[in-house]
């Protein structure tokens, strides 16, 4: 396998060793078995809660946050090493809404009160968050959103609908983009609000995805009263907050490690003694796999070059690279899941939703490795759609990189 040769400084190597010791101790074989069955984009339920707790207790749940807010206070390099080691070990992909999305927004735009109130609870896992961005008529065209918030005394009254809301069924809080004005450009009438999911007037309706998994939901707001102190940033300045969050959603320091892990799962499916070993020796399969592996190495180099640029004082979040990386990650992940499906052949026809998500016992007539590939493939169709579809990324790049 082609990997970067990272030459670590002594203190970086010591840090890496510390992370490895931690993972060896805390990421138990039981947790690993559960994590391997994860087919969705994120882990959830018991597994997510357990791993969140473990990282929280170690002080490592928020690698990217500054220490003063309870983050791990890692340098960019430490964060990269940490992400990489966790991903290599195959730890659960924790939901991003709280730690990765809402937290940084509050740190950047929140009032001192909002920070005090929410950040510790995001860290501890007491508050599970979800993201209220998309609506029926506002998908890729996010600025078309119509869910409205009308000021009434010390409250906003929120009425409307959000869609594709990941993990709304587990969430205690939702951050929503709402329309607070219809004057001027559409982007200039949007605000960013924090809403408790138990507020009267909120209804959550599940959407079962084609894999049989319940990850996303519809969330309805019927005259939900939200105190004005839950406004983040200024009224009608929410688009700036929304875009800040989207760049965070796209960018991840160690997508290459994430993809290598998926490639590792593919290798387990076609393992030499297993039922699908013939694929591993099929030249067409091997070439396709090799092409993916090479592209992952290129992505790893690109991530590392960005990290080096940051270490030399460059800006961290680069819109152009974030979009380029999202395009690469989406297409590579989807290519890997296609190979997973190809690898199990006729078994791909079997509906495994009830086994994976309904608690039904797996059939002894179906190889264990045939359980997850189809769900993984089906769920990963979403990766080129959420967080700005691949077409939207190309629109962004037309502007930022082509200058058109």
């Amino acid at each position: 396998m082609l990997e970067l040769d990272l030459v670590l400084e002594p203190e970086e190597a010591a840090f890496q060793a510390r992370v490895r010791r931690f993972l060896a101790e805390k990421f138990t074989p039981e947790l690993r078995r559960e994590a391997e069955l994860q087919t969705g984009v994120f882990a959830h339920g018991e597994l997510a809660a357990k791993w969140h707790r473990i990282l929280y207790e170690a002080g490592w749940i928020a690698p990217g946050w500054p220490e003063e807010y309870g983050g791990a206070g890692f340098s960019a390099t430490q964060q990269y090493i940490f992400d990489q080691e966790c991903t290599r070990a195959g730890t659960p992909d924790l939901p991003v809404a709280g730690i990765r999305l809402c937290g940084p927004v509050l740190i950047e735009f929140g009032t001192p009160d909002q920070k005090d109130r929410f950040l510790p609870r995001i860290l501890s896992g007491e508050h599970v968050w979800c993201q209220g961005y998309s609506e029926p008529q506002a998908g890729s065209d996010l600025a078309a959103l119509e869910c409205r918030a009308v000021r009434d005394g010390d409250d906003y009254v929120v009425t409307g609908q959000k869609l594709w809301t990941t993990h709304a069924q587990f969430a205690d809080w939702i951050f929503v983009l709402v329309r607070t004005s219809r004057e001027g450009p559409r982007q200039a009438g949007i605000s960013f609000l924090l809403v408790p999911m138990d507020a009267p007037g909120i209804t959550v309706r599940p959407i079962i995805s084609m894999s049989g998994e319940h990850e996303v939901n519809e969330v309805f707001f019927d005259a939900v009263r939200v105190p004005v102190e839950n406004l983040v940033g200024e009224e009608n300045q929410g688009w700036k907050v929304a875009k800040f969050l989207l760049v965070n959603e796209r960018g991840s320091g160690s997508a290459a490690a994430y993809l290598r892990n998926a490639l590792g799962m593919l290798d387990k499916i076609v393992e030499p003694q297993g039922p699908f070993a013939t694929n591993a020796f099929d030249p067409a399969f091997a070439r396709r796999r090799a092409e993916i592996e090479i592209e992952i190495a290129a992505l790893e180099q690109s991530e590392h070059s960005l990290l080096e640029a940051m270490r030399q004082g460059g800006r961290g979040a680069d819109d152009t690279l974030a979009s380029i990386h999202k395009l690469h990650v989406s297409s590579l992940m989807q290519a890997i899941t296609e190979l997973e499906v190809d690898a199990i052949g006729e078994y791909a026809q079997i509906y495994q939703g009830e086994v994976l998500f309904g608690g039904r016992e797996p059939s002894p007539h179906v190889p264990r490795r045939a359980l997850t590939p189809v769900a993984h493939y089906l769920n990963m169709r979403a990766i080129s759609i959420f967080g700005g579809s691949s077409e939207i990324q190309r629109n962004i790049l037309t502007r930022t990189a082509l200058g058109l």
Binding site: M1, L2, E271, A297, L299, E308, L327, R394, T398, L402
Partner: protein
Amino acid sequence: MTTASMTMDEQSELLASVENLTERVLGDKHESLCGREFSREAWQLLGGELGLLAVALPEAIGGMGGSHHAHAILMEAFGRHLVAQPYLSSVVAASQLLDAAKPEHTSLLSFAGQGEAIIVPALSDGPGDYEMSGKALIAAVDGDGFVLNGAKALVRDAALADQFVVLAQAQGEGGVEHVLLLVPAGAAGLAREDFGLIDQATASHLRFDSVHVGSSALIASGAEAVHRACSAVNAAVVGVCAEAVGVMKAMHAQTVEFARQRVQFGRPIAEFQVLQHRMVDMLVAIEQAASITRLARNKLAGADAALAASACMALVAKACRSVAQDAVQIHGAIGIANETPISRYFRRGLAIEMQFGGRNYHLLRYLQETALRRVPAVPGSA
């Protein structure tokens, strides 16, 4: 955290100065160097007066010690400006082949770095001989020298050479072995048949009819000869990939500029989303090619050189093909005209793809190299 032995600061400082120098030189001398056939005066200008050819060579022979990283920067700039020069042969490959411990080699290399001598490797027997068998050229021991008989096919830049470095088979004490020999281009018995290439360069079929060389011609024999030849090819593969990145960047910039200017249906075609996305896809492919080339150049000095060089070419050749095709497509009919710059870049891109065996071969070699590294599974490691 760094990825090379030179510290990050030293490396980036040197590379930045190489980049500046290259851009300045190619900018100033654009008329005489870029998009034209080879000219010895221009080559000597690059090497001597401007000091550009030696930046990657060791300081002991008048270079700046920039190594593979500086090679890559120069090659990318040559690609961007479509400079047809034998740098890849005479400097990138030759610096891997010659023996820095031998004074006559270091002086030859330093001449090459000044543009005073052109060294051209003829390692494989010709198309398809990726294993560099050396079978087509036999070196018989003759006193303390050798007599060469046989041929080398499709040797790029051979018509420009002052010296060849050939890989041949010799009958050694322990049986047949490889030898790496220096052969002057004017040696008696050496005949050349030249071909024009699609990218304005030339290649030649070389025939050796009892060509005598003395003992000092021997660079290396046996495993050492093969090792040097492989290092030269790996370095050249990554070097030419860097050139491809430059070629692609130039094609992309020209295409975006053309799309801004070209009006159809009453507006610049750059306003059409289908073309915008196509131009973005070109950019995304170029970013990937640049990244894998950077990775590979960091690997050239280590045990994974062949693995990385083939990974690099497998990906770069694919990118090069699609970017070049898109560039011509977006230009429309003018893109296929011989006189349009884009068509010259297109042809150079195609030559680069095939120069060292093409994408399929490199993907296969990547798989073979990967298989060699596969450690038997340790129980419990899954």
